[in-house]
């Protein structure tokens, strides 16, 4: 009996991708859940696992082919070599994903995520004791197992809330050609396409305000050592912005809304996208239920996302379903499924910018929103008193 290998569902807004690499050749025996194909979509690179035991009998989509969701990639024939039933230990990787009823996580396999059950006792103990999310720690052990060293490194880098590594010094311009044509990656192509789409569909408008950061700087100065000691993570700016935005979103629900056909969907949950720049482009992992999180939770989550983003290990589920996005550098483009471009841009001179869809948000609301954010940032005690 032959089993077809198909492109798995890739998440809400992704319809196709490119086969970048086949890890098996025709004739190779394959086991269920063994990674067969590296498949690049606009957002992430996904490993496609084998749906069955057997022998790879046909490659329908060779490397470089574009295939849509559900499209045929290859065929596995029942074979003698790998016909044993899959070991019971092969736990589905999906179970590490935190449940989130509102935003259904896309059912994409994320085999890079560490499998704590199969990791050694020392790693398990450290993860428990430090209340870490095992799935967010890059695993270097055999077959995705976490080593003790991996966990120790995660604890350490978590506390170092990673300023991005200094960019390598630009190579001197020698006798290279003045121009170079390089094919855009699918990620870059999709960013370009979505940004243009967003501009076309949304009635995008941006409003600005400025904010005095003195109070936040003073708080950070006063508490940075104690905070890091207690929580193992540096007190950054981002947690303040997330908290300030959530306070403002609660007051102005329209900013946390989206258009769906002729309806408006107001969201009572606060899944905040935080833009992270990587070598391959800007990605926006989503901090789920950020309103329920403490400052330290938010900082830890952002730190972990930053590391995963740089390692290319963000799963589709972690990139989709944001209700509002904060960026401290990129100006344009929601990568999210929400058709509204909600943006705050934070610059060193502390300008705030909110990009919004005028179809949903009136100018009054946008201006008020920014004033609320500004108030909260200039006088953070308001956050405490829910004012």
């Amino acid at each position: 009996m032959a089993t077809e290998i198909k492109v798995p569902p890739l998440g809400e807004s992704v319809t196709e991708g490119t086969v970048t690499r086949w890890l098996k050749k025709v004739g190779d025996s394959v086991k269920i859940d063994e990674t067969l194909i590296e498949f690049e979509t606009d957002k992430v690179t996904v490993d496609v696992p084998s749906p069955a035991n057997g022998v790879l009998s046909e490659i329908s989509a060779p490397e470089g082919t574009n295939v849509g969701v559900g499209g045929l990639l290859g065929v596995i024939a029942e074979g003698a070599a790998g016909a044993k039933p899959a070991p019971a230990a092969a736990a589905p990787a999906a179970k590490v994903e935190a449940p989130k009823p509102a935003a259904a996580p896309a059912p994409v396999a994320a085999p890079a995520a560490a499998d704590l059950d199969r990791s050694g006792p020392a790693a398990r103990k450290l993860v428990e004791e430090n209340k870490l999310d095992a799935a967010s720690i890059p695993a270097t052990g055999k077959d995705g197992r976490l080593t003790k060293g991996d966990v120790l490194a995660a604890i350490e880098t978590g506390s170092a809330a990673a300023p991005a590594a200094a960019p390598a010094p630009a190579a001197p311009r020698a006798d290279h050609p003045r121009e170079q044509r390089v094919k855009m990656t699918r990620l870059r192509q999709r960013i370009a396409q979505r940004l243009k789409e967003a501009q076309n569909t949304a009635a995008m408008l941006t409003t600005f305000n400025e904010v005095d950061m003195t109070a936040i700087l003073a708080i950070r100065e006063a508490y940075k050592d104690g905070f890091e000691k207690k929580h193992g993570v540096k007190l950054g700016f981002m947690s303040f912005f997330v908290k300030a935005c959530i306070a403002a979103l609660k007051e102005l629900p329209a900013v946390n809304a989206e258009i769906s056909g002729d309806e408006l969907i107001y969201k009572n949950y606060y899944d905040i996208g935080v833009a992270v720049g990587t070598e391959n482009g800007l990605v926006v992992p989503v901090v789920r239920d950020a309103d329920l999180m403490s400052f330290s939770d938010i900082e830890k989550q952002i730190g972990a996302y930053g590391k995963k983003a740089r390692d290319g290990k963000l799963s589709m589920a972690e990139l989709t379903g944001g209700t509002f996005t904060i960026s401290n550098g990129g100006v344009y483009g929601s990568l999210m499924s929400t058709p509204i471009l909600n943006k705050i841009e934070i610059r060193p001179m502390m300008y705030l910018a909110l990009s919004y869809d005028h179809r949903v948000i009136d100018g009054r609301e946008a201006v008020t929103f920014l004033v609320r954010v500004k108030d909260a940032l200039e006088d953070p005690q308001r956050l405490l008193l829910d004012m």
Binding site: G120, T147, K148, G149
Partner: protein, 468 residues
């Protein structure tokens, strides 16, 4: 008429015969060329297996002679029947090499009995033992010809008075004085055999220490234990000549650094200064197969030589000359040929010295770790504090772990003690999975076992040994 194969393996040692079996399992049509009358190569015929048979037998003799009394077992008139001991060893070899013949039949591997010569990629000429020659067509050729004893200029092996390891497992009469040239594991194992059987044994080593590859602390301990058992050591000493007479051999020794010569009389001399790759008559030069500076066949990460279609594994390429290293390479090679993507971790290959106590190690020695500049921690546990070792009356030795000070990852493990060679497997497995010393310390070990010493040594790095 020419036959045609997917793979022709030259050499049927542990590397070659395992590669042949694995390739056959993966559906290839395989032939193996072996010129010796039996399959199995050095390891099965004149190496690992017969020497272990003699080590086991001689240890029983030693126990009966010296240790039974302490256990309350009284024996009188213990005597040695060397002929039976050697015959038993020969039977073990015969049985086990027949086992390989059976495995060949089972896997439909053709044994081409003769001497193989590579004519070119895809073509092997076999000078048949039965006479005549045959040219074989094959898609792939695997060189698995192994190694041979390294000769020592001026001390020519005749396998009677001056023997190599091959002759040392078949000395018909216990020599009064056996001089072993070379303090590596082969010389120490075979020296141990004959010491137990009654020889006076002197080991002459050029370096200032025996077993130079071992962790320094472990090597020193082994030297001490063997000396206590009665083996004499002449370190930093070189052998410059040998004179044979009817009654024995007179060796000329000089200090390694230079100085006045002295003479040493022996009944039998064992030359065990190492082994060298065996490629003679293989036709490598004609086929254009490149060697490295140590005359080993040069291969890439997939065991391919510079000539496409010609591969090599085992003692004939770089790396430790160990049967199990060759076996793993044989498996990995066959799987690569079949399109799989296996990986061999050279940092987790164990090594064992089958003296008593045994010495076993995996990973880096403390000297290597120190030289690499990594900060590390050491945990040790002596068998003297292990319940089972006490009960057995085998308390010599210790377990030593070296772990990265920061990540706690195990970098090396070194055991000198009873059954160390069996116990090292758990440490190799741990290293293969990147385990920390804490992982081993947290793994439940049955009581009372010798392996508890492994766990305790691991615990000594993090939370502290419990029974010390």
């Amino acid at each position: 008429m020419t036959d045609s194969y997917d793979l022709v393996v030259i050499g049927s040692g542990p590397g070659g015969y395992i590669a042949a079996i694995r390739a056959a399992q993966l559906g290839m049509k395989v032939a193996c060329v072996e010129k010796y009358v039996r399959l199995g190569g050095t390891c099965l015929n004149v190496g690992c297996i017969p020497s272990k048979a003699l080590l086991q037998s001689s240890e029983k003799f030693e126990e009966a002679s010296h240790s039974f009394a302490a256990h309350g077992v009284k024996l009188s008139g213990v005597s040695l029947d060397l002929d039976t001991m050697l015959a038993r060893k020969d039977k073990v070899v015969a049985d086990i090499t027949k086992g390989v013949e059976f495995l060949f039949r089972k896997n439909k591997i053709t044994w081409l009995q003769g001497t193989g010569k590579i004519l070119a990629a895809g073509k092997v000429e076999v000078a048949l033992t039965a006479g005549g020659s045959q040219t074989i067509e094959t898609k792939n050729i695997l060189i698995a010809t192994g190694s041979e004893v390294m000769p020592l200029p001026g001390v020519e092996v005749d396998e009677k008075q001056i023997v190599s390891s091959t002759g040392a497992i078949a000395i018909p009469k216990v020599p009064k004085h056996l001089v072993v040239i070379g303090g590596g594991y082969i010389g120490l194992e075979l020296g141990s055999v004959w010491r137990r059987l009654g020889s006076e044994v002197t080991v002459v080593e050029f370096l200032d220490r025996i077993t130079p590859g071992l962790d320094g602390e472990v090597g020193k301990q082994l030297n001490r234990v063997l000396a206590k058992q009665g083996v004499q050591f002449k370190l930093s000493t070189k052998v410059t000549g040998a004179k044979k007479s009817k009654s024995g051999v007179t060796l000329t020794l000089e200090p390694a650094a230079g100085g006045p010569a002295e003479e040493l009389k022996a009944d039998v001399v064992l030359v065990s200064i190492g082994r060298r790759p065996y490629t003679e008559g293989l036709g490598l030069a004609e086929a254009g197969v490149a060697l490295d500076d140590k005359k080993r066949v040069k291969v890439d990460g997939h065991f391919q030589t510079n000539v496409p279609g010609i591969y090599a594994i085992g003692d004939v390429i770089a790396g430790p000359m160990l049967a199990h290293k060759a076996e793993e390479e044989g498996v990995v090679f066959a799987e690569i040929l079949a399109g799989q993507k296996p990986h061999l971790n050279y940092d987790a290959i164990p090594a064992v010295v089958y003296t008593w106590p045994e010495v076993a190690s995996v990973g880096k020695t403390e000297e290597e770790v120190k030289a690499s500049g990594v900060e590390y921690k050491v945990g040790k546990f002596p068998f003297l504090a292990n319940g089972r070792a006490k009960a057995n009356g085998d308390t010599e030795g210790f377990v030593k772990f070296i772990a990265d000070a920061k990540t706690d990852r195990v970098l090396g493990c070194h055991i000198i003690g009873p059954d160390a060679g069996t116990m090292i497997a758990e440490c190799a497995l741990a290293m293969e999975f990147g385990a920390s010393s804490e992982d081993i310390g947290r793994t439940c070990h049955a009581h009372p076992t010798l392996n508890e010493a492994v766990k305790e040594a691991a615990l000594a790095i993090t939370s502290g040994a419990l029974n010390m």
